[in-house]
Symmetry: C2
């Protein structure tokens, strides 16, 4: 079972930043890591991934450089910047706050008798 696009939305950038926090990486690898880690349930489509990279780079949260592979297809590696680390921390916190609220709301736990 795969995850609906609208649930994915809003997490793409956070996930990419999370992975780049660990180490530099490149598109294809990040994509595959996510797919295998979630057994195919969560998948960033290539188009989504590359547009996200562009957004992140424009925001100066990541920077890119071409790998020096002697053989095989060329790879564009991404590094997270200091601004990116800060943004990641903020996004993570924001998500954790939101998560609590969303869980409460989707379960209909609105206390206080209002409704």
């Amino acid at each position: 079972m795969s995850i609906a696009s609208d649930l994915i939305r809003g997490h793409t950038e956070t996930i990419i930043l999370a992975l780049l926090t660990r180490s530099d990486s490149y598109g294809y690898r990040i994509n595959k890591a996510i797919r295998t880690a979630t057994k195919g349930a969560y998948e960033l489509k290539e188009a989504t991934l590359y547009t996200a990279f562009r957004r992140l780079e424009e925001a100066d949260y990541i920077r890119s450089y071409w790998g020096s592979e002697e053989s095989g297809a060329r790879r564009r590696y991404y590094t997270i910047t200091e601004a990116g680390r800060i943004a990641y921390a903020r996004l993570l916190e924001e998500w954790q706050r939101a998560n609590v609220l969303i869980n409460r709301l989707v379960e209909g736990n609105i206390e206080g008798g209002d409704l």
Copy 2:
């Protein structure tokens, strides 16, 4: 601090259905309940809410009827249908599954050494 739209996205329908599971209600009240329950952090904008109602009604997950208020502004009440209850259960389950994965991913916990 308010929640980003992209985190809201994908939950609107689930939240509305959750509330209607409890009892019939109407737009303004649902909206306010959410706002006060989350102390303003989570807010469905009116336009979002009403388009969601239309979507849900078209899908036959909810039905609407005009309230019989003697005074005050007229209210359009919504009831959840049987199909709506089933859809809600599915959405809730889907979300709970997604939640686990998202949490893992945004924290960068990709085990297995891949990446």
